[in-house]
């Protein structure tokens, strides 16, 4: 298997280099045969990388501990799902996975666009293969997953215990797939810059691929939050950890892109800005992939140790130089076709949305990288923790939520102010009512403001749906549910987008509540004793020792009462995995009582079963996960195939193309 895998990788590397050369020569000398062979080389590269990936997974399944990578990350007693998941549990495997996703999606894109965007394809191929070549170089020279040990150990060390969790089976693949799939829009962007063809077909293609990558990344982040909530035991789901932040950055910039690209599609403006956003997104993806690998930010000194860091740094510099260079070169050809007419227009709204999103990304980037500069210039190690981000990102997020409500009410080109005010009436009333109740009932002013804004945006979005449904019912005479369904199906980009907005607002409800009204208490209890936190009483029932195939488990059983009424029994676990006894992991006991999460952490215990237990009451966190489900559904509706009437599109594309020709 090792020979098969490394052979496939080397062959893929050679073919990728050949493909770059063939597409370059093919497009220069206008030899269609060479181009066709370059495309076939791309398909073969994707196939060979998949072969290598499958070889690695089979090596894991067959416990081939001769492979250093397999021996370091799996063992015979691990359950089979974690043996499979172990292949992305380390640097080499996750880079191989990255390359596999990038090359397969790239090949798929090449296949799907083989008729429509012929002029772009040679350059798409070149960019794609250049990126894949870099990863293949790293995979064959610096970090080969198929390196053999001199002797075969009888058993492996086992997977890092933190990864042995259902959440971790899904979180890294989604996140890495998100990073990797930005390769496709980036390749299209580069191709468009080289050829100067930035028509609306290109735009439609690139938007879909960006949407796919954005969805992967978003789902990855969401699962990561869920995992942190269940495993890490600090009562939260987002810790502003450098690695998390770096995954959030490309998501923020691509969210900005997905919004501002609408302006380009409708009005032919913001071309340079959109390309810059795409470039930044891809650069941030590389940055994120490489920072996670190098461990540079969590501990700055690890940078020197890691050999892979330099490779990525050079590569990142290359991507940025080529990207910015091409953008500057094409700058004269990227003039807007139309001009913005009024600030109170949909275009203006999108501009402000972009300002807020990029400001947020900038703030997060600033906070995340500042420790690096601090160490570099002043020799002081510092930590930038959650307080900084909450203070800086919180207000921006609030502004963004407000715009989520206001933006859809603005009309393209210019908005009639009286009409806008009339449309704002009900959302403002709803916000006012909530603010009134909030002032009376809540003692945190910022939470009152945040809830008022959330409800305002929620009401505005629902009003948009309602108006759409009413219009359909007037015109087509459909029943209410049919009208709602047809509205979403026929205009999925708009109303699916609103669905994603609603998902974000639902999450905001949970995020605000859990930040403002979390309760925490710590108890030292003997079995049978109880403690109270908020309206809840917990009764500690004692410890239970268990064994699973690969771990020893200590479970603390806790009954939860709300007032006098029994609500639930939860168990909070500690796992001690073989070979990793010094790194116990945990799974929290979480009981959903009403709308509160009662979150029980087992901290430590003594031989007489006296346990130190921490209990958090996290109100409304359930809404974050409900919002997450709505997010996934909303995103799916965005991929709904849409039959677009073709004749209507052609005339619109012509003015833009005429100028570029």
């Amino acid at each position: 298997m090792a020979q098969l895998g490394s052979g496939a990788l080397i062959l893929a590397l050679l073919l990728a280099v050949y493909g770059i050369g063939a597409s370059f020569l093919g497009v220069r000398r206008r030899v269609p045969e060479l181009l066709a062979s370059a495309y076939r080389a791309t398909y073969s590269v994707a196939f060979l990388i998949l072969v290598a990936l499958i070889a690695l997974v089979i090596s894991f399944l067959r416990h081939e501990f001769r492979l250093a990578y397999v021996a370091a990350r799996s063992s015979r007693d691990m359950p089979i799902q974690y043996v499979i998941a172990a292949f992305y549990g380390g640097q080499e495997g996750s880079l191989l996975y990255w390359a596999a996703v990038a090359s397969s999606l790239g090949a798929l894109a090449l296949y799907l666009h083989r008729h429509s965007d012929r002029a772009l394809l040679p350059y798409v191929t070149m960019t794609l293969l250049a990126i894949v070549t870099f990863f293949l170089l790293v995979l064959t020279i610096v970090a080969s997953p198929f390196r053999l040990l001199p002797v075969t150990p009888p058993d492996g060390a086992g997977l890092n215990p933190l990864l042995r969790d259902p959440g971790m089976m899904a979180h890294p693949p989604f996140l890495l797939a998100g990073y990797a799939s930005f390769t496709v829009p980036f390749a299209f962007a580069m191709a468009a810059l080289v050829t100067g063809r930035l028509g609306s077909d290109w735009l439609r293609a690139i938007r879909r691929w960006t949407l796919l990558a954005w969805a992967f990344l978003g789902i990855g982040l969401l699962i990561g939050a869920w995992w942190a909530y269940h495993v890490l035991g600090w009562g939260g789901y987002w810790g502003w950890d450098p690695v998390e932040n770096l995954a959030l950055l490309p998501w923020l910039t691509s969210t900005a892109f997905l919004h501002s690209v609408i302006v380009q599609e409708r009005r032919g403006m913001l071309k340079v800005w959109n390309l810059a956003l795409l470039l930044a997104t891809f650069a941030l993806c590389i940055f994120g992939t490489f920072i996670v690998r190098s461990g540079m930010l969590s501990s700055v000194h690890a940078f020197a140790v890691s050999t892979i860091g330099h490779w990525f740094l050079v590569y990142l510099a290359l991507v940025l130089i080529v990207g910015i260079g091409l953008l500057l070169y094409r700058l004269p050809g990227l003039q807007s076709e139309r001009q913005i007419e009024s600030v109170t227009s949909r275009e203006g709204g999108f501009l402000l949305n972009n300002l807020l999103l990029t400001a947020m990304a900038f703030a997060v980037f600033w906070g995340t990288t500042f420790p690096l500069f601090s160490e570099l210039f002043w020799g002081t190690r510092i930590t930038v923790g959650p307080p900084f981000y909450n203070r800086v990102v919180g207000p921006l997020l609030l502004g963004l939520l407000a715009f989520m409500g206001l933006g859809p009410l603005l009309a393209w080109r210019r908005t009639e102010i009286p009409l806008l005010l009339r449309n704002l009436r009900w959302p403002l009333v709803a916000a006012g009512v909530v603010a009134g109740f909030g002032v009376v009932l809540l003692d945190r002013w910022w939470a009152v403001v945040a809830y008022a804004v959330t409800v305002f945006a929620f009401a505005a979005t629902l009003q948009e749906y309602w108006r759409g449904i009413r219009a359909r019912r007037r015109n087509v005479r459909e029943a209410l549910p049919v009208a709602a369904w047809e509205l979403l199906r026929r205009n999925n980009r708009r109303y699916g987008g609103y669905l994603v907005h609603l998902a974000m607002l639902l999450m905001a409800v949970g995020i605000i509540a859990s930040n403002a009204f979390q309760l925490e208490r710590q108890f030292v209890l003997r079995p049978g004793e109880q403690g109270s936190v908020g309206p809840y009483t917990i009764v500690y029932r004692g410890l239970d020792d268990r064994r699973t195939r690969d771990a020893e488990v200590v479970a603390a059983k806790v009954d939860v009462y709300r007032g006098e009424r029994y609500a639930a029994t939860v168990e909070s676990y500690r796992f001690f995995y073989r070979n990793y006894e010094d790194q116990p992991t945990a799974r929290m006991g979480i009981a959903l009582v009403g709308l509160d999460d009662v979150y029980v952490v087992l901290d430590r215990w003594e031989d007489d079963d006296t346990a130190s237990i921490r209990v958090y009451v996290n109100p409304l966190v359930i809404w974050i996960w409900i919002g997450g489900a709505v997010f996934v559904l909303g995103t799916l509706t965005l991929f709904w195939p849409q039959p677009v009437p073709a004749p209507a599109r052609l005339p619109r594309t012509v003015p833009g193309m005429a100028r570029e020709a």
Binding site: F388, L442, V509, F523, S532, M657
Partner: protein
């Protein structure tokens, strides 16, 4: 003992009310849920740490774990630090004294939030500068648009249109 218990009950009341408020707000229901909190059985809700100690612990990074605060970490060092904070509070030291004590021992990186002094201001002002800069760029962009000739579109000559359509030929045809 009685006094402590009484204090605990007052706290209990307070938290009960604020947490109830949240659910009330969302449900829009008014439930009087604050009845009968007589507890049965032996209570040993011995809270090792006062709220202030917890708050201080939340401002400190656990030096041996990645990205967790002293409050949230369950490492032995963090536990000792929590206890030390509590002892120092009981000895009458102020929050600043306690934080300074840990900074002296572990360096500035022990603080979760860098102090607002010296070059750390760069960190704090950075995002604001970014936002203001972005806003300025946006305003400039809009200004330039305003001063340019209004949004009138030049009509494309029909022969030009035909030429372009010819040029685009087979490739330009949309799928």
């Amino acid at each position: 003992m009685t006094e402590r218990r009484w204090r605990a009950r007052v706290r209990w009341w307070r938290v009960t009310r604020s947490s109830a408020r949240v659910s009330l707000l969302v449900l829009g229901l008014v439930i009087v849920a604050l009845m009968g909190f007589s507890s049965s059985g032996p209570v040993r809700a011995e809270e090792a740490l006062s709220p202030e100690a917890l708050e201080i612990a939340n401002q400190l990074n656990c030096p041996v774990c990645q990205g967790q605060s002293v409050r949230d970490s369950n490492s032995e060092l963090a536990r000792q630090m929590r206890q030390l904070i509590q002892q120092k509070l009981e000895a009458g030291e102020s929050r600043e004294d306690i934080l300074q004590y840990f900074v002296d021992r572990y360096g500035v990186s022990v603080l979760r939030e860098p102090p607002r002094q010296g070059y750390f201001w760069i960190l704090w002002w950075g995002p604001l500068v970014g936002l203001v800069g972005g806003t300025l760029l946006l305003v400039l962009y809009l200004r330039r648009r305003d001063s340019a000739v209004g949004g009138v579109e030049e009509p494309v000559p029909s022969e030009e249109l035909r030429r372009v359509e010819q040029l685009l030929g087979p490739e330009g045809r949309v799928r």
